[in-house]
């Protein structure tokens, strides 16, 4: 009986571990080759890059890093792209989390790795260029309090300052926050999250400062209504969001190809133009500095998605082949 089955029908009952093996082999292959895959940036990623591009060197921004390594395939790339842009432009930032006790250490490690890449005179210094404020449980209450008054919310908090001999200093006396009297004085807030903490930020902080978000592909659709309503100025979704950011950082956005050959094009936002980031590392081009995990993982993502499409098609053909046999029998 079984020798009369078509190849599609036989495939219906094959061991799923073969499928897993194919996935492992192909995705691993994808990690070792990182070709230049042309892609138009999502409109929401454009919004994020344009918002970042509009910041000045003296601005201070808030980075709410709410992720841990379970989603690092996407969120580590997000944070690295954000930090690389911020560090290249010498923007000051305050990093904290409202979501997970592990998150501060994870983002601290990411920041340290990026800082180690920079030459000594360009390294970001604690208390001078950035602040790490750690974990605040109860995202709802903490965000509301932050929105009410940033000064009273972080009142009395102290930080160590690099080059200060280990003495602590009130965070509002540091160069990072000394000019911040109210939340509106911050250039933007960017929430890097795999969860709904961005919902709370939109609910409590909307209208006070530009809100941007970098989120996993799973959470992305949930945040799109806020982006479409203009409550979120920019949104990088999933690994494609990381790739979009890196491509815009490396080549700029909608620039003249004669001057910027790597500039990416956005049909929908052709009037928006943004420059590539200038590498702070001597001898490294913008592309060398900017292209990281997004470029490294994007081929693997394409391969995995292609495999999934093929699996869906093969599964359905098998089902129809079996149905046809039943009808003919």
């Amino acid at each position: 009986m079984s020798e009369n089955l078509s190849i599609w029908e036989k495939m219906q009952s094959f061991d799923r571990r073969w499928l897993y093996l194919v996935l492992i082999v192909l995705v691993t292959f994808g990690l070792f080759v990182s070709p230049d895959i042309p892609a138009q940036p999502d409109e929401s990623s454009v919004g994020l890059y344009v918002t970042l591009d509009g910041l000045d060197e003296n601005d201070t921004i808030l980075i709410q890093s709410d992720w841990t390594n379970s989603t690092r395939g996407e969120t580590l790339g997000h944070l690295e792209a954000l930090l690389r842009t911020v560090m290249a432009k010498r923007i000051k930032f305050v990093m904290y989390t409202f979501a997970d006790p592990q998150a501060p250490q994870v983002s601290r490690d990411a920041l340290r790795r990026l800082n180690d890449e920079l030459p000594e005179d360009k390294r970001y210094k604690l208390g001078i260029d950035y602040l790490e404020l750690g974990y605040f449980p109860n995202a709802e209450g903490a965000t509301q309090s932050l929105g009410n008054n940033i000064r009273t919310f972080w009142e009395g908090r102290k930080t160590r300052v690099e080059g200060n001999g280990g003495d602590e200093m009130d965070i509002f006396r540091t160069p990072v926050l000394e000019n911040i009297q109210k939340l509106e004085d911050c250039g933007m807030i960017c929430v890097v999250t795999p969860s709904n903490t961005i919902d709370i930020a939109v609910e409590r902080l909307s209208g006070k400062l530009p809100i941007c978000c970098m989120c996993t592909g799973v959470v992305g659709p949930q945040i799109l209504p806020y982006y479409n309503a203009g409550q979120v100025a920019g949104l990088a979704i999933g690994l494609k969001g990381v790739y979009d950011m890196e491509m815009m950082m490396a080549g700029g956005l909608n620039l003249d190809k004669a001057d910027y050959p790597n500039s990416v094009r956005s049909d929908k936002y052709s009037e928006n133009k943004a420059l590539p980031v200038v590498s702070p590392i001597e001898g490294k081009s913008s592309a060398d500095y900017s292209l990281g995990r997004g470029k490294k993982y994007y081929a693997a993502l394409n391969i995995a998605l292609a495999l999934m499409v093929l699996a869906v098609i093969a599964g359905n053909i098998g089902m129809y082949a079996a149905k046809r046999r039943e009808r003919n029998a």
């Binding site: 799923r16 390594n69 395939g73 359905n316």
Partner: protein, 300 residues
């Protein structure tokens, strides 16, 4: 408005007054906990409700009461309404701090619960006690090396040299191995297993058996293809060659990214808005029930 609580939080770290306040708060907490434990259920329910109502009432008042706008540090309130508005605004960070501290207690509760379950299993040599042993040992090691690393950075590194990996010692490498090398990698590995389940489900379960399933699959394929830059670019270039690069040509709407954008903005976002409205209304109803003490579960 100088709240009494501000006097507590405003004390200098390590001062005698602060230690006195902390000891007093600890004793008061223990007394309240014992009182709540000894209290009959008849009395416990109203106590929990009063605490819940009072907490919710603050945020309710904060929400409905006119709030001072662009208030300067030297501004003084005029009249009852402004006094209350200023008071509520001043009290918010204190109340938020209390809520943050209470939430942090959940971590302690989690550790207690974890140890209670796994030490019990370990000492009674119940089934799979070996896993409990690994869990407890890992937890203890992480706490020891975590604190050791933190103390080194906090007290023995005035020049913040440990910010660079070159200056690390045994403790820092050990903590990094435990946290980043083991815990975080296992965390990522667990999450990555979803890829296998998704692929298996795509092959075995994603079948076109109805019109709804067909629509679902068509939408999913459009979204997947729109993320695949190579496919998108080949298809877009094909359309560009047909339109001659005219941005106003109607065929541009057939590009994958344009179709995906239409699906997202016209189908997905409105559906999600409707869902969010539903969830919001449900949360409002549930919140009101909890606040007004109509929800009977969880307080006995």
């Amino acid at each position: 408005m100088n709240l009494p609580l501000a006097a507590i939080w405003g004390q200098d770290p390590g001062s005698g007054a602060l230690i006195g306040y902390l000891v007093g708060a600890f004793i008061l907490g223990v007394v309240m906990m014992v009182a709540m434990t000894k209290m009959p259920t008849r009395g416990r329910k109203p106590s929990v409700w009063i605490a819940t109502f009072a907490s919710g009432f603050f945020y309710f008042l904060f929400w409905i009461w006119p709030s001072p706008i662009n208030r300067g540090p030297s501004d003084l309130p005029v009249g009852f309404s402004e006094k209350v508005g200023f008071g509520l605004q001043d009290a918010l960070p204190k109340v938020a701090n209390i809520a943050i501290i209470l939430t942090a207690f959940l971590l302690g509760l989690g550790i207690y619960s974890l140890l209670h379950v796994h030490l019990g299993r370990l000492f009674k040599k119940q089934k799979d006690w070996q896993f409990s042993l690994i869990l407890v040992v890992s937890m203890v090691l992480m706490i020891i090396f975590g604190y050791w690393d933190w103390m080194q950075r906090q007290f023995n590194d005035p020049d913040l040299l440990l910010a660079k990996m070159d200056n690390w010692g045994f403790v820092n490498y050990s903590f990094d191995l435990l946290f980043d090398g083991l815990l975080q990698q296992m965390d990522a590995a667990m999450f990555s297993m979803i890829a296998f389940f998704i692929l298996s489900a795509a092959y075995r379960a994603f079948r076109i058996k109805s019109i709804e399933a067909t629509v679902l699959m068509a939408s999913a394929l459009i979204m997947i293809l729109s993320i695949m830059g190579a496919v998108d670019m080949v298809y877009s270039n094909m359309i560009d060659s047909m339109t001659g690069g005219d941005p106003g040509h109607f065929l541009n709407d057939a590009k994958i990214t344009a179709v995906a954008s239409w699906v997202k903005n016209t189908m997905q976002v409105p559906a999600l808005r409707a869902l969010e409205f539903g969830v919001g209304l449900g949360a409002l109803a549930m919140g009101l029930r909890l606040w007004l003490g109509l929800e009977k579960g969880g307080v006995s």
